[in-house]
């Protein structure tokens, strides 16, 4: 197998607070292959954003990487100096944030923001950068890009601004883009367009994506593989087809039951009984046990490690080798 582009191992992100240390991300591991789209799903507070922020070195203090490793193209990046990390951001790892209305500096033209980013990372003249910016704006679907270069962010609609943000993320040709809920703040009618654009561009540029979302529909349509987070922990990871159709983890199973078969309504998570525990009151053993229909003694006492069950892996005692089930159950169509 080829070398992974990004390799995250046992990542733990903690927030030391006055009332004790909160563990927002707790022992998460996954790989992203070059050009691959890895979806990261989970309810709000599951640790998705903190995982992304840890990778690009933008955790907000007091948040910090307490343990674990992050390798990008074989190079360890979780302990780099701030300046070395900065040179990776934008250049080797791009980012798209949730709200395009607030992601762009209101006082600068989008052309300036594009050329500034390019010239930070690439050896280009202003004229070359402008040419490249026009081409890129055309690629992300801004009409008449040459005329729009000197427009200010407020002169664009939300959807158009998110296209500009995507252009900004791509403008130094990074190998990986971390897209944190890139469509959540957008009008439902344009969410699909933006997702499709992101997918197409990353295919064309051979850019891998860490696609954070709580929209299972987006994952099913876009991702190659999926990581499911619950309470800061990895519940399950595997190819999208396997995770959607033959989920291993009872939590994933619950999630998949929420995917509607029609597209008239955006599919959302959390139609499972109960709610995710807060970081301050994480249950012992398996974090999901208070809500799990299959919970048994061991689940309450011991935290399950990730059990390999190719092509997926799940952190659930049901999949422990000694007590393994015969095979993952086919998901019944709902």
């Amino acid at each position: 197998m080829a070398e992974p582009l990004l390799s995250v191992r046992d990542l733990r992100v903690t927030f030391p607070t006055r009332r004790g240390v909160l563990t927002a991300v707790d022992g998460v591991s996954f790989d992203i292959m070059p050009g691959e789209i890895l979806g990261v799903v989970g309810e709000s507070g599951a640790g998705k954003s903190q995982t992304g922020a840890a990778i690009i070195g933008l955790l907000e203090p007091p948040g910090r990487i307490a343990s674990g490793t992050i390798h990008l193209e074989g190079e360890r990046i979780d302990r780099l100096s701030p300046d070395k990390l900065r040179r990776i951001r934008g250049r080797r790892i791009g980012a798209v944030f949730q709200d395009p209305l607030t992601s762009l500096n209101p006082l600068y033209t989008i052309g300036r923001q594009l050329t500034e980013t390019m010239r930070t990372h690439l050896d280009l003249s202003e004229a070359q950068a402008r040419d490249r910016a026009v081409a890129l704006l055309g690629e992300v679907g801004i009409p008449a890009p040459a005329d729009r270069l000197d427009a200010y962010p407020h002169q664009f609609s939300g959807g158009m601004r998110q296209r500009v943000v995507i252009a900004l993320a791509l403008c130094a040709n990074p190998r990986l883009i971390i897209a944190d809920e890139p469509t959540t703040a957008l009008d439902v009618s344009i969410q699909a367009q933006i997702t499709a654009l992101l997918k197409r561009l990353c295919r064309e540029h051979d850019t891998a994506v860490l696609l954070i979302t709580h929209d299972m529909g987006v994952i099913a349509e876009t991702a190659d593989r999926v990581a499911v987070l619950y309470g800061g922990r990895l519940a399950e990871v595997g190819p999208v087809d396997a995770v959607v159709n033959r989920p291993l983890h009872p939590y994933t199973e619950g999630l998949m039951a929420c995917i509607p078969t029609t597209h008239d309504r955006p599919p959302r998570l959390a139609q499972i009984e109960g709610s995710m525990p807060s970081l301050r009151a994480m249950p012992a053993g398996c974090a999901f046990h208070p809500r799990c229909p299959h919970a048994f003694n061991r689940c309450v006492a011991e935290r399950p490690p990730l059990f390999d069950h190719p092509p997926s892996a799940a952190a659930c005692w049901l999949w422990a080798p000694e007590g393994a089930r015969a095979a993952p159950r086919e998901r019944t169509a709902s």
């Binding site: 690009i56 933008l58 900065r86 040179r87 990776i88 951001r89 934008g90 250049r91 791009g94 980012a95 944030f97 709200d99 209305l101 607030t102 992601s103 762009l104 500096n105 209101p106 006082l107 600068y108 033209t109 500034e116 980013t117 930070t120 990372h121 009409p143 729009r148 427009a151 200010y152 962010p153 407020h154 002169q155 664009f156 609609s157 158009m160 943000v165 900004l168 993320a169 130094a172």
Partner: protein
């Protein structure tokens, strides 16, 4: 959303600049009329102008004739209209004390006050903005804490006390700087400037610091607060995610957004600097309009007092207007757009 937080923009989004300026001009005229009314009321109700002008031995008939001549027997609206028309032409009558046209006195004194106010404003900006930036970027540094502590003193001490302390230290103890007057001035047309001689510049230092200290601490705290808030915004986070250098983020992106409200406050403060100059001018015997006003009060020199009020109000209003127009220059969201919005 993306709009600057804190101080709100003066005009609604997308209003054409001309319409906006016309609206503000009308408001300004209204303010000036109100102030003129106060100035006029001074004339009418504080003391008797005729008594102030003539000697003890003037006969009652003479007084009545003068009263008629001055139009003091006309109905109130007529008198007020005359006052406004004259004031609009910078005609405020004759000073009781100096026996000369008030406007001549003011023109003579204006350069001293304006140069002092300008120097104080410049000092406040040039020192306050960098200190604000520094304390925002090095929030936990000991120097930041020292700046903030000192600025508390600057805010809480009254101006006259600061002036006297400065005189005590730099004039009396150290003997470095003069404690009163403008020093040597040079006449350029009707403008007498102290900026062209060493003596004049040295004389400007203490009064300018005294007058500007309060504004400086204000600007420092404002820049600090705004900068900290801007540094928390999404577009700064996104700028970090784009890998821009700390320098580009702090000074290119954050500072420019910080300056929008800072421009307003500073501009408005310049107006109050001119008004506050009264105290500083008194402490330093600075021959400006403020000193003229204080002396006018002692002598109940109503025309000078009224003219000073109207003039200071006028400067206030003028500065406000300029600040509002500056918004258009700094914030592209307020400029009229050639279509394209809502794509």
């Amino acid at each position: 959303m993306g709009a600057p937080r804190g101080i709100r923009s003066p005009c609604s989004r997308g209003e054409p600049m001309v319409a906006f300026i016309v609206r503000r001009l009308l408001q300004s005229v209204l303010v000036m009329l109100t102030v003129a009314l106060v100035g006029f009321a001074l004339f009418t109700y504080v003391g008797d102008p005729v008594n102030n002008m003539v000697g003890q031995d003037t006969s009652l008939a003479d007084r009545e004739r003068l009263r008629e001549e001055l139009g003091l027997n006309d109905p109130f609206p007529v008198q007020f209209a005359r006052f406004v028309v004259n004031a609009a032409q910078a005609d405020f009558g004759i000073s009781y004390r100096h026996g000369r046209p008030v406007e001549d006195l003011l023109i003579e004194r204006a350069p001293a006050t304006l140069e002092l106010s300008f120097a104080a404003g410049l000092f406040a900006l040039v020192v306050g903005v960098p200190m604000g930036i520094y304390t925002a970027l090095n929030r936990h540094g000991w120097l930041s804490k020292a700046f903030l502590t000192v600025s508390l003193i600057g805010i809480s001490l009254p101006t006259f006390l600061i002036g006297i302390l400065l005189i005590l230290v730099f004039s009396v103890w150290l003997g470095w700087l003069p404690s009163f007057g403008r020093g040597e001035t040079v006449q350029i047309g009707w403008w007498s400037t102290g900026l062209l001689t060493r003596d004049g510049l040295v004389a400007l230092i203490l009064p300018a610091i005294t007058l500007g200290l309060f504004q400086m601490t204000l600007i420092m705290r404002l820049v600090r607060a705004e900068m900290l808030e801007v540094l928390r915004t999404d577009y700064i986070k996104f700028a970090r995610a784009r890998g821009l250098s700390a320098r580009a983020i702090n000074f290119g992106h954050a500072l420019k957004n910080t300056l929008v409200p800072v421009i307003t406050i500073t501009g408005l403060q310049l107006g109050s600097v001119i008004a506050f100059a009264i105290i500083t001018e008194t402490v330093f015997q600075w021959p400006g309009m403020g000193l003229l006003f204080i002396q006018a009060i002692e002598f109940v020199d109503i025309p000078v007092m009224a003219a000073y009020l109207v003039l200071v109000a006028f400067l206030f209003v003028l500065i406000n207007l300029i600040v509002d127009i500056l918004y258009f220059v700094v914030d592209p969201r307020l400029r009229v757009q050639g279509g394209g919005a809502g794509l």
